[in-house]
Amino acid sequence: MVEPLALKDHTWESRIFFSRIVVCFGVLVILMLLLVARFFYLQILQHDIYATLSDKNRIQIQPLAPVRGLIYDRNGELLADNIPSFNLTIAPERVADLDQTLAHLGSILSLTEEDILGFKSRVKRRKPPFDSVPLLFKLTTQEIAQFSVDRHLLPGVGVEAKLVRHYPRGELMVHAVGSVRRINESDAKRLDSVAYSGTDYVGKIGVEKFYEQDLLGRVGYQQVEIDARGKVMKVLESNLPSRGKDLILHVDSSLQAVASEALGDRRGTVVAIEPKTGGILALVSKPGYDPNLFVTGIGHKTYALLRDSKDVPLFNRALQGQYEPGSTLKPIIALAGLVTGVTNADYTIDDPGWFRLPNSKRLYRDWNWHASGTGGHGSVNLEKAIYRSCNIYFYDLAVKMGIDRLDDYLALFGFGVNTVLDLPEARSGLLPTRKWKQETRGLAWYPGDTVNIGVGQGDMLVTPLQLATAVTVIANRGEWVSPRMLKSGSDLIDQSTVRKLDSIALIPDPVWDVVIGAMEKVVHRGNQGYGENGTAWAYIGQDIEYRMAGKSGTAQVVGIKQGEEYDAEELDERQRKHAWFVAFAPVDNPTIALAVLVENGGGGSEFAAPVARAVLDHHLLKKTGNSGRVMASEGAAL
């Protein structure tokens, strides 16, 4: 033992100290055990919970967008492509002050109010947090460079490359191919969220819409490890997407270009069909618009301009426009008359220029009738009634047949129904019947209604596609094929689909010969003197190198009062008649049938027939050449 050295009681002090240090050490050990217990609790008892949380933190399932299928025309020309586009994106969570960031971006890039509104609505719709939302699309390299300079000042803003739909032919093919649009809120509700999880676009119109499920492809996914900033560190597992199916359409871009050029600046449409297959060779509706504008989300102003234009460029006239068929209906009425025996090839009438129902004062005029009392076609048989487009013959024939029999036959040619297989916007026109009139107007069918149907007027409405389809049936001598865009690449439509229309097929060849022969004369009967040539001969028939069967027509836009004369000069341009021309060629083995409509064009033979001629010339004579544009201007000049 140590003896005390000083006054202090060292032994006592050491003892106090020792007891204190023991207590403190005891508490310390307890606290350390508390720590161990805490870590035991977290690491052993709650391990599963935290292991899951940790995986949730680091592992993310990311969708891999499939590449949308391409669309080609029949010659292998690309109609719908996917091209990389550089978008400016913002991850709002990583931006401290969004308004300030937008203002900064506005100072280096051209950023419109519309861009910002569009961006904000996309922010509301996006799925996972920390996801980047596009603000500007299709940045140019210069814009990317400008942004890069200030990039370090703009956290959360980046440039991403994405494949976007591109339509190389732009406006030319828009009404034939349709287009995709950016998925909007209502689409998002309708679409399968898994299948579209990596995709920003959906087919909204036309072929792009109809074959959506084939074009889309199957979404893939990858399980990735991400860091706290959402950056992908490594891919743990991936299931690659499978790309959408490529489609080949019947459409022929060069023919489409010819048709478009031939229409020029006029509003109108051309629908051409390959009779053997029903494949649509050309589907032009003018004016059109550039579908590429819609792909990344069109600005409100640009959209309003298109939507409100008097020329309705967004409207697909070929499928949705419903017009009176006018005299183009006459060959079909003639067929019906011949088959039912109501008339025959030799039966003639005397045409004074007007027709009157028994016990009625109302005059139904011929197209060459004049208020002076002259007009009419003299002695007219069925053939002349077609190549001279005599109304009186058909008024008489229609009344004799009666509406019910007429309806039966018109229905066989596809009027009043939608027969196209893969164009979802197509409308079905209107084939008026007794029942229809009773239901919609509460009125009985009058004989006068039948008179109008005889020349394709009155209540009857057809779309240009329907008329082209009916002409195709004539070209095929009664064998039906449903019109279609798709040549190959999808099983969504049954390619062998042909409507069985036995009663048409039963029409004997001599009957077809009469009607088709008459249609041929519309184009080829010339040098016969005044009032004896085919209606279209002067315009298209004089130097033609092949045999074409055609029929002109005009559709009235405003009613002409009793006793008044139609005078194009006096009418406002938009109240003029629509010019129709339907045709197929070559007559003995048709490879193309078409319908042309020039809105407010005037007479069908004069204004629509040259367009038809240009299209047929290109199809039949210059199949291989790339001289579509040259041909088109020649055609337009005719």
Partner: protein
């Protein structure tokens, strides 16, 4: 036990023996030195993982460890008598430095903790105060009768109060609490009556609600976050949720060294500094944590032994306080990271990245060794 030499203490006539061995010759305690080296090495490995397997920060930290070790060796050479004599002056300088901070301090992130003597050194006076306060209190009690009388307790509390308040208002709540603890340990070891201790605890608990109104908003936030981290998972709660996730997902043996996803992928904030134990827990699991705790416990145990073996009041109080304060670091840090204490900025000793705290720690253990190896009497 062999005796290498025996010498006479002048004037006392008592036979004094010095302990044998290289350690004593160098004034080092070999078990403690070994433990410090092991813990530092362990810490460097964890740091290497926490910084994403970069070698530069580890080298930089290794240099700090070496500097700290050297400083410890130097400190250990100096006799505790010197420290005792200098104590009041050193303390006074420390206090002045703390006051000067309010006039010339360098402001970082809204608090003034650093003092810069232009061209010479930038330092953190509060860090030095961690040793100054036990020193001055041990000095204060060394020639007084223990257990201390009430007025001595009062004056010693004042000695604690002044620097603690100066630091608390920098503001640096974490450091001020540690310093308060280091001072209070001296009082506790000096034998303040348990009644007083209990009364103080009672007073503290009942004053806690009042304290609420003194706390700053961010401090309140931290306490609320402790109670319910989910109330703001991406903001204040983020740190604690992510550290608990890192710890919990580690399991018994962890995800493997360098395989921690929470830390390597950046989910765990402050993973190199205050939250580094979460990296350890994630990668080496409970096993790795327990190993670290055992190493700490051995170090503390050795410190306790040295304290008990100290031959005078000064040495005992100083050594004891330094040893237990060391534990406060460990407990506050690990308690905070594992979500049982509010978030206060306290590094994990010898593991967290950073130079200041590691230097202070080594200096503290240097003092312990000095006290132990400059003994006048063998037991």
């Amino acid at each position: 036990m062999s005796q290498d030499f025996v010498r006479q203490l002048p004037g006392t006539g008592l036979k004094i023996q010095r302990k044998a061995g290289l350690g004593n010759a160098l004034h080092l305690d070999v078990p403690m030195l070994l433990l410090l080296l092991i813990i530092s090495a362990y810490g460097l490995v964890i740091l290497y993982s926490a910084v994403g397997q970069q070698i530069e920060p580890v080298i930089s930290q290794g240099i700090k460890v070496l500097v700290g070790l050297s400083a410890m060796v130097v400190i250990a050479q100096i006799s505790p008598v010197v420290y005792m004599r200098l104590a009041p002056w050193i303390f006074l300088i420390g206090l002045i430095a703390l006051v000067l901070i309010y006039f010339f301090g360098v402001e970082v992130k809204g608090s003034r903790r650093w003092l810069r003597i232009p061209g010479i050194v930038t330092f953190q006076p509060s860090e030095i105060m961690k040793l100054m306060l036990p020193l001055i209190l041990a000095w204060y009690f060394h020639d007084r009768h223990l257990p201390p009388k009430a007025r001595h307790v009062f004056w010693s509390l004042m000695l604690i109060f002044v620097p603690v308040m100066l630091i608390a208002f920098q503001p640096d709540l974490g450091t001020s609490l540690i310093i308060a603890a280091s001072g209070l340990f001296v009082l506790l070891l000096a034998g303040v009556s348990w009644r007083l201790v209990l009364m103080a605890i009672g007073l503290g608990v009942s004053a806690a609600p009042a304290l609420w109104f003194v706390l700053r908003d961010y401090q309140k936030q931290r306490i609320l976050t402790l109670l319910d981290p989910e109330r703001d998972p991406l903001g204040a709660g983020w740190n604690i949720i992510q550290s608990k996730t890192a710890i919990g997902s580690g399991g018994l043996f962890g995800k493997g060294l360098f395989e921690g996803t929470q830390s390597n992928l950046g989910f765990l904030p402050e993973s190199q500094t205050d939250f580094i134990v979460a990296v350890l827990a994630e990668e080496l699991g409970l096993a790795g944590v327990v190993v670290l705790l055992i190493l700490y416990l051995l170090l503390i145990g050795r410190g306790v032994i040295l304290s008990v073996q100290a031959q005078d009041t000064f040495g005992r109080l100083l050594s004891g306080s330094i040893t237990f304060t060391f534990f406060v670091y460990v407990f506050v840090n690990m308690g905070m990271v594992s979500g049982i204490l509010p978030v206060v900025g306290v590094p994990l000793p010898f593991v967290s990245y950073g130079g200041t705290s590691i230097l202070t720690l080594f200096l503290g253990f240097g003092i312990l060794m000095s006290v132990h190896t400059h003994r006048r009497i063998t037991l």
